[in-house]
Symmetry: C2
Subunit: 470 residues, 2 copies
């Protein structure tokens, strides 16, 4: 049976898109790359996913899973064409088990909806990407997403207890029960595998109890280095805030114009620091953080007086990328990680790169983790501009690796950073990674052209629409 | 070159053992299985490990890594003979990096020695198996070991940031930098792979700041169910102690006779509860836990008044297995996990099994995690006794799986529970696990006869000593 007919048999006539104008919506994600799929399918069950995967395997067509398409490394782009499996219709919370602090969800559930479903009972789901009002758990699992609260709670892999997934041959695996899986850690391997090994169809997530008190501070600086030093001072005092975010001056002004979060327009940098716990603990930590900020020459430290003020401070941070979009025709945000002690020199290096390539770079990042998000602003209509941006970005990532860091903290490798993987790993380690890919997906049909550098990874077989018998 | 000569060339004449009386010391671990290796080698560097692995690969001889041999599932037993690689001489802490909260260590470093090296500066290494004064980090990584404080801090995999390892062909891989490794989670896959994929030669571990205050409580009960209910009550109050250990009456009396920890001889059960944090937090939590204990009919709640009293309470718990050894010719300890809400029914089921098979079973376990350690006492000299014990054990583990739990929490699968893996996983998932093993170790020479059930796993090729050209 031709693929087209097979797919319609599985999901019905309203279960897929194939017209060019419909497909155009699925050629982007949140990054800068694009490529058009040949077909977008909307399964409603694990069995439908397995049937779609089997049909695509017979037709030898590439398959790419997709959540909300908010990813920043090109993970959901069908760069070799083929079928996009959208999880938009597999968006149900299947079970909430509060006594055992877990929930079972479908991949299309929006991140924030898990917290919404349990917060009245005093629980929440911890990983909080900036896109959490849109992004899905399936996408979070694929990219092992983080967020501002990663500092205290870790990334997605620390909150996933088990997975059901469809392998490239259509078989369904279940990585174990809900508790302490014996043997190899399949769950951990699938989290962060960026859709190159399996399509995740069900996820058991950990729920956490909401803290008694949450407080947010804004520390304001006249020099960015002083903000960097404050992070080291806080660590030295043995306090772990749940979040320490840094935003530089230019970004503050762009955000303020767009969001009116109450950020100071004349500052060189701010730290957004969040504390959680019992009231007594938080009160004591506020005093210690005030002392650390004062020692590092903070001009002012504001403490949010209530939930509204707190939400306003976070609104600025969470809408930062949107704010930049009002000022620059395009921007490119990177995701390098450096040891916490290397933040200040890395900021200086980014400034050098900015001057040398004559591109505007602003900094907004998870300072507590050393997870830098340099944001390069540019105009893609100017010839040569895109190339300049990519060179600047590559130099920053190479610097991160050199000082003992990594090319990605939470956005994934995708198609964006795959050619940088040989800076991070030795050939023997890359061979091991490639062997994994081949083990799961010998035909190289699952999200081809991602994660591994060209030559070690999968060939990109561009399928003509004709092959789909459309 | 025959293997014998090749090994001597790599490690010198004092770098290996081969006489039967020496090898006899290496045929056991902390479990109940045994098998004698043909050779035990003591490398002093990664390069020596790689050379040994290459030589063994040429001779097609099995290789088994070994730390301190304290494991409880037969992980370090050379069940197919061959070469044991002991990491006793690779026991150095290579680097301590306090500002970035990590240390780089060799696999033979004893667990407690990491904490000893950093505690003066206010840091510690969190996973704390009962054997932590003897067991090594390499063994902890292989088995993904836990301990009483797993409840708050997680198991070994949550504290390992990167790994260097030797693959079965002798090549050396490095799973990434110290921070947020891009791509597939090789570190996570190797942790808990029980020596079946690679020999770990270097480990980057996370260090944590010591809390301001640590307090230990002993809650004493006349009925074991009341202790189980208290665990649920504590969870309901949104308190996460760093440890909640349960010990039943018979065990209390055995421990008290051996260790004199001050445990009540006439109790039916106790909970050992530990709290950590700032002083104000801990004081408030003590009040809440007292209330929970009172509600669940605890006869008495004692709070350790100082560090000495605290250490004495833990001394009883950590020496429990030794204490049992004084009373029973042999014992067999299991490692099943159940959802926290299933602890009370599981205790009732264990009592039924005990009566039905007429074997004495005592319970000591990580109650907060639902990680049960039923301890079956027996005399191996009585014919048929061993078989009875294994049957009782299997029934308990099957029950754990049925109620949504697992056959192992922290001891690993090893050779002890491999035949139970098909109760835990579907055939498709077991095929995936087997494919991993084959990917890393196509010749099935690394720790053969472990983790996977017979038929799906590796053949056990018993090498005659003659093959080693000894």
């Amino acid at each position: 049976m031709p693929l087209f007919a097979a797919i319609e048999k599985i999901v019905g006539p309203r279960g897929y898109l194939h017209k060019p104008e419909d497909l155009a919506l699925y050629e982007y994600d949140g990054g800068i790359d694009k490529s058009r799929p040949d077909l977008v399918v909307f399964p409603e069950s694990t069995e439908q996913v397995a049937a779609i995967v089997k049909a695509a395997a017979e037709a030898q067509i590439p398959i790419v899973g997709r959540g909300a398409g908010t990813g920043l490394s090109g993970g959901a782009i069908a760069r070799a064409g083929g079928v996009i499996v959208s999880f938009a219709r597999m968006n149900r919370i299947l079970e909430i088990d509060l006594p055992n602090e877990r929930a079972i969800v479908q991949p299309g559930v929006v991140n924030i909806d898990i917290t919404s479903a349990v917060e009245a009972d005093g629980y929440f789901y911890a990983p909080d990407p900036s896109s959490q009002r849109a992004c899905t758990i399936g996408g979070n699992v694929s990219e092992n997403s983080g967020g501002p609260h990663t500092l205290a709670y870790g990334v997605t892999t620390n909150h996933v207890l088990g997975i059901e997934a469809v392998l490239p041959d259509g078989s369904i695996i279940d990585t174990g029960s809900n508790y302490d899986q014996p043997g190899y850690d399949l769950t951990g391997l699938l989290v962060g595998s960026e859709g190159t090994m399996a399509l995740v169809t069900k996820i058991i997530v950990r729920l956490m109890r909401k803290p008694e008190v949450v407080t947010t501070l804004l520390a304001i600086y006249d020099r960015p280095e002083d903000a960097g030093d404050t992070v080291a001072q806080i660590t030295e005092r043995a306090i772990t805030p749940v979040a320490i975010e840094m935003l530089d001056g230019p970004l503050l002004r762009m955000i303020e114009d767009a969001v009116h979060a109450g950020y100071p327009r004349d500052a060189a940098a701010v730290l957004l620091i969040e504390l959680e716990g019992l009231k007594e603990t938080v009160d004591e930590q506020i005093d210690q953080i005030r002392a650390a900020c004062a020692l590092c020459k903070a001009r002012e430290v504001r403490v949010a007086a209530n939930a509204e003020q707190r939400e306003l401070l976070w609104k600025g941070r969470k809408n930062a990328f949107g704010a930049v979009g009002r000022f620059s025709p395009a921007y490119y945000v990177q995701d390098g990680v450096v040891p916490r002690t290397q933040i200040a020199p890395t900021l200086r290096f980014i400034e050098e790169v900015s001057k040398r390539h004559d591109v505007a770079i602003s900094n907004i990042f998870h300072a507590g983790d050393g997870n830098m998000h340099p944001l390069i602003m540019f105009d893609p209509r100017v010839p040569g501009e895109m190339e300049k941006v990519r060179r600047a970005s590559d130099e920053i990532l190479e610097y991160c690796v050199q000082v003992g860091g990594s090319i990605t903290g939470e956005h994934g490798v995708g198609m964006e950073k795959m050619e940088m993987m040989d800076r991070q790993f030795t050939p023997a380690t890359l061979d091991t990674i490639a062997a994994f890919k081949k083990l799961f997906d010998p035909g190289c049909r699952l999200n081809p052209g991602k994660v591994l550098p060209t030559g070690r990874g999968c060939m990109e077989i561009r399928q003509r629409p004709g092959d789909l018998s459309l």
